[in-house]
């Protein structure tokens, strides 16, 4: 599971290629908030991996709480009617669901561009071929590193890395466009050049150099994951050089990690503006981490409400839409409609109030404190993980870390 990058720029100005990113047009606050572009489908929380940075909530939903096949198929019809263009099958591990091929087939049939976000360890060549036949447009495979010992330790699963390599090869053989998702943190950043080489070798179209975002499990593991300042600097240089060297070979997506940023990211393209998330049990969230904000009541597709109704009327969806909810320094800020104050989940996690400015912003009174915390935790250097699982996490054995 990995964060969906926000498609962040405004419509126009088209570049030399005559293409611009699509984003909702500016409307008055009283008007509707536009049509969502994409939906993250967390079809299950089950996963054979135990990554300590998982973006799922700490309280994972068991299999018996998951929506059934028929409900998902109906949701795809509704999403397509609403104007959704892309769906991302995610989890947990989406291939843990036996009906995945059927789900992809229906989503494609109703015109949704289907993307699979997977750890790939449960995939076979036959399953990949069936998914491709069902209309899957793209596959994104996560890697925990390039070195099998390190990658398997981060994933908390033996032989995970070698299975991923095999599945990535099959994905190309059946003709699927491939993105490598590499979640980077202090314990793997030294592998970055090798990870880029691995992506080229696997014939990937694209790599996402994703820095860990500290919500949920990752927040619990922050001290073990936070990169050092030297690593961040080196990382930026490595990415810039690789972009130049690999132009036309490998597309590289990279965003400076929040704790070391000056301007906050336009998280999700703005709360409730172009994206929503459906949890395994059917809750509709403005982002996959939104449940980390306490006191918000999210509507479910198991209610009598349609997705369209929830998108437009859900109190949680409307709570941080636009700029009306803002306090200072956001309220009078020239950037308020550029980044919408950054990430609500991060503001909540670090300041206790989701309506505060994201501390990633240099105008936040908490900004210096955030960077200080990052530096302190990176240098303290405790490397033991708390592994993600259904029982609230398991601490890594003493002798396993930093071997």
């Amino acid at each position: 599971m990995s964060p969906v990058p926000d498609s962040a720029t405004v419509v126009a100005p088209a570049g030399t290629d005559g293409l611009a990113l699509l984003e909702p047009e500016k409307r008055s606050l009283a008007a509707t908030y536009g049509i969502p572009l994409s939906v993250l489908l967390e079809i299950t929380h089950r996963c054979p991996l135990q990554c300590p940075y998982c973006s799922n909530p700490i309280e994972l939903l068991k299999a018996n709480r998951e929506l059934d096949t028929g409900t998902w198929l109906d949701l795809f019809d509704q999403a397509a009617d609403l104007g959704v263009l892309q769906v991302h099958f995610s989890g947990g591990e989406p291939t843990a669901r036996k009906d995945l091929v059927e789900l992809v087939k229906h989503a494609s049939a109703v015109g949704l561009y289907s993307n699979l976000i997977t750890s790939a360890v449960l995939l076979t060549r036959d399953k990949l071929a069936a998914l491709a036949d069902a209309g899957l447009a793209h596959i994104q495979i996560s890697f925990q590193g390039s070195d099998p010992a390190i990658a398997d330790r981060v994933a908390g699963l033996r032989n995970a890395h070698s299975k991923k390599l095999e599945a990535a090869k099959w994905a190309r053989e059946v003709g699927l466009p491939l993105t490598i998702n590499a979640v980077m943190h202090r314990q793997t950043l030294h592998l970055l050049p090798a990870i880029l080489a691995m992506a080229v070798e696997l014939d990937a179209d694209r790599i996402e150099i994703a820095n860990v975002q500290y919500y949920g499990w990752a927040l619990k593991n922050r001290a073990a994951l936070m990169p050092t300042l030297a690593q961040i600097e080196a990382m930026t240089e490595i990415v810039e050089a690789a972009r130049e060297r690999l132009a036309g070979i490998l597309a590289i997506d990279f965003v400076v990690p929040d704790y070391h940023a000056i301007r906050p990211k336009k998280c999700m393209g703005g709360w409730g503006r172009q994206f929503f998330n459906i949890t395994p049990s059917g809750k509709v969230l403005p982002c996959h981490a939104a449940e980390s904000i306490t006191g918000l009541d999210f509507d479910s597709v198991r209610s009598n409400h349609s997705i369209a109704w929830i998108w437009q009327n859900s109190e949680a969806m409307n709570r941080y839409r636009g700029t009306g909810w803002m306090k200072e320094p956001c309220r009078s800020c020239a950037f308020r409609e550029v980044d919408f104050g950054g990430c609500r989940c991060q503001a909540f996690a670090l300041t206790g109030d989701a309506a505060n400015t994201d501390p990633a912003c240099s105008f936040s009174p908490h900004h210096a404190e955030m960077l200080g915390l990052a530096v302190e935790e990176a240098e303290a250097g405790g490397d033991r993980f708390l592994y993600r699982n259904f029982s609230g996490g398991t601490r890594e054995a003493d002798d396993a870390a930093g071997a």
Binding site: V4, P5, S7, V11, A14, G15, T16, D17, G18, L19, A20, L21, L22, I35, L37, S38, L82, G83, L85, Q86, G111, Y113, N115, A137, H138, Q140, R172, G175, L176, P177, T179, P193, A194, L196, A197, V200, E201, D203, D205, R206, A242, R245, L246, A247, G248, I249, A251, D253
Partner: protein, 109 residues
């Protein structure tokens, strides 16, 4: 340490008059009725081609060459063919570099 070179399987190419491009599987051009506009769906992004880009992309069918496209458009726009050809090639090269356009394998030398 492995050298960072593209494997032979790589299908990216330099766009020229004889190139015969087609949209890759991961890039889907659609008319979106909800928004009343053409969109190009690519991994993790939705791109909005302008009117001319839509025309060009619709010609990327794996059968027409870039030269054919320039001929078709030169007949309809009051601009020299050479200029149109250069504009098309520039636009398509960006899409090739992003992996959104391929040259179907059987067409490759």
């Amino acid at each position: 340490m492995t050298a960072l070179v593209a494997p032979a399987a790589r299908r990216r190419f330099v766009v020229g008059e004889a190139s015969v491009p087609a949209l890759a599987r991961g890039a889907q051009l659609r008319f979106d009725p909800s928004r009343g506009r053409w969109v190009l769906l690519v991994p993790e992004r939705v791109l909005v081609p302008d009117d001319i880009a839509v025309e060009v992309l619709r010609l990327c069918d794996g059968a027409r060459s870039v030269g054919d496209m320039a001929d078709a458009l030169a007949g309809r726009y009051a601009a020299p063919r050479a200029e149109i050809l250069a504009d098309i090639a520039e636009m398509l090269q960006e899409l090739v570099n992003s992996g959104f356009l391929i040259e179907p394998t059987e067409k490759q030398p």
